[in-house]
Symmetry: C2
Subunit: 337 residues, 2 copies
């Protein structure tokens, strides 16, 4: 089905000009009730569908937003995507999906592709690009919102918004909860050293310790891959060398699940002997045994807020309301009641 009906076809069979047809299509006034109805009927009969591309060329707007994610099959990002899509589609925008496959050069390509596609705005998630190379790319888009990344204040005069999770708060909430339950020796699986969120969660961890008067002990902190295996290994190393630990705060839920398994292997009962707290509240968290106490971050809210912010910017908002920080919420389950 290649030969589409065009506006000209409608105009011809209706015996009017293109302009008149255009008016009824776009619901603009200046058409008599009668001819409008007649044209609408013809449009129905001929099953006319306006061409977005022609319209885009004329209006210079595509009605498409670019969504760049490292991996759409990662539940975190598909959750974000869902949120973005919700508010985008509510406002008449479609999403062009770009998977970078965690690859920097592909991220660059995608950003350029989106420029060629003339998308009206871009939501960029977890950009792996360094500031120097990212900025020129973003400069070529009229509206951009970053998710999971914040530009250093003053590092750019571009109108770039951002939505991030308050990881420091999350780290603090988790640690405070453990302290409140009487734990004084709390281990921390800190995730990949390059991870910003890991660093911020650690800040929260330290802050909570400090305000409780508990000295910080770097021996209780261990990096780990953000995976079940990573958590398993790190937890084992930590617990074997420091049997005095009564609690573990983990970079994410996957690592926490690993920690759970390690405790089982070592014959440590949870939460009696070791309490475990995760981060993210992935689907899995409530299904493992014992169910995981964790910091809940709403992925779809990340997305919907990002989209809302983007639409705001596209609308030409000049205010400085460019950065959002979403608070995580501690969900208490049996792994650390």
């Amino acid at each position: 089905v290649n030969n589409h009906v065009t506006m000209a076809d409608i105009a011809r069979t209706a015996g009017v000009s293109l302009m008149t047809v255009s008016r009824v299509i776009n619901n603009k006034e200046g058409v008599s009730r009668h001819t409008r109805l007649r044209i609408e009927k013809i449009i129905e009969e001929l099953e006319y569908r306006p061409s977005s591309i022609a319209r885009s060329l004329a209006t210079q707007r595509t009605g498409i937003l670019g969504l760049v994610v490292p991996d759409i099959s990662n539940p975190f990002f598909s959750g974000v995507a869902r949120g973005v899509d919700e508010v985008a589609s509510e406002n008449g925008f479609s999403l062009l999906l770009c998977n970078t496959e965690e690859d920097r050069s592909r991220e660059i390509d995608m950003l350029q592709l989106l420029e060629e596609k003339r998308v009206d705005g871009v939501v960029l998630c977890s950009s792996r690009l360094e500031h120097k190379v990212l900025m020129p790319l973003l400069a070529r888009h009229s509206a951009v919102v970053l998710v999971n990344r914040r530009l250093a204040p003053g590092s750019s005069d571009l109108p770039i918004g951002s939505v991030i999770i308050d990881d420091e708060l999350g780290g603090k909430l988790a640690t405070q909860h453990l302290i409140k339950r009487g734990h004084r020796t709390i281990g921390f699986l800190s995730g990949p050293p390059s991870s910003f969120s890991g660093q911020n969660r650690k800040k929260g961890y330290r802050a909570a310790l400090k305000s409780a008067g508990i000295p910080y002990n770097s021996k209780f902190v261990r990096r780990c891959q953000p995976t079940v295996e990573g958590g398993q290994e790190a937890a084992r190393l930590l617990l074997e060398s420091h049997p005095e630990l009564t609690a573990l705060f983990c970079y994410n839920d996957l690592a926490a699940v690993g920690a759970l398994q390690t405790c089982t292997d070592l014959g440590l009962r949870i939460p009696e002997q070791v309490a475990v707290v995760g981060y993210d509240d992935i689907f899995l968290a409530r299904l493992v045994t014992p169910a995981l106490t964790t910091c809940q971050v709403s992925r779809s809210e990340l997305g919907s807020n990002a989209a809302a912010l983007l639409l705001e910017r596209m609308g030409g908002c000049t205010e400085d309301c460019r950065n959002l920080t979403l608070p995580p919420k501690l969900v208490i389950r049996t792994s650390a009641p």
Copy 2:
């Protein structure tokens, strides 16, 4: 950043015609090595990016494929999306993501939207629309591939491809495995009655019983919601009324996890007293205890095959290789060793 550099700008500053610029952009011959290099340099300097929309209007091709899914945040569909994206982007196509939110009227809207956007092809996942309303919509697209749904043979002369999982085979593999391990009284949590895959899995279940000479007993079969809670409830009803059951084959992994929990609640040891088999091999499957024996279906392969099929159709393949049936694979873990 609204005022893009155009081909005309390049042509002017290079002192050549539009045509020449067009030729170097599209890597066509008919340009002297010298001018080509000169123009390429100017393109670099001016940071020219061709406009996809203008090009689309001229060529009648967008380089965009539509991807329609019920819910992108569902790991099943984001997995499929990943697969589709992989082969699409390999072949220079982008993806327009459409979330129907499991809503029939939105599915219709999306299909129309994709027509207006003039996408080159559509991958439609798990369509909820009835044949009568679906066909006219699909007829307006030049290339369509269905995922998780197959049109009745001869029910349409449209060149529509499809990729589905062989659920009957899956049901048979799972059941045969249990039989081979000595089970004779095997329960089946059959999922939602409206589910095609559930019906097919049941066919496989029955076929396996039959070829083992085990009589089919409808009392051993119970519908359930495809959720943890659904599986939990159905498993309880089944096990309480039929203590002779020594194994459960479950509609999906979520239901299987529910069954696992029920067994624990009832004090039944897995797999000694009750063996449990799931379906899908979601991420969760290997992480629960005991790890789930299950039928693995590759979501990304579903997607990549769909995309490949679509590209084939778009290329004008007239062969009858329109339907693919992917075999699931039994993954044996500790819940049914």
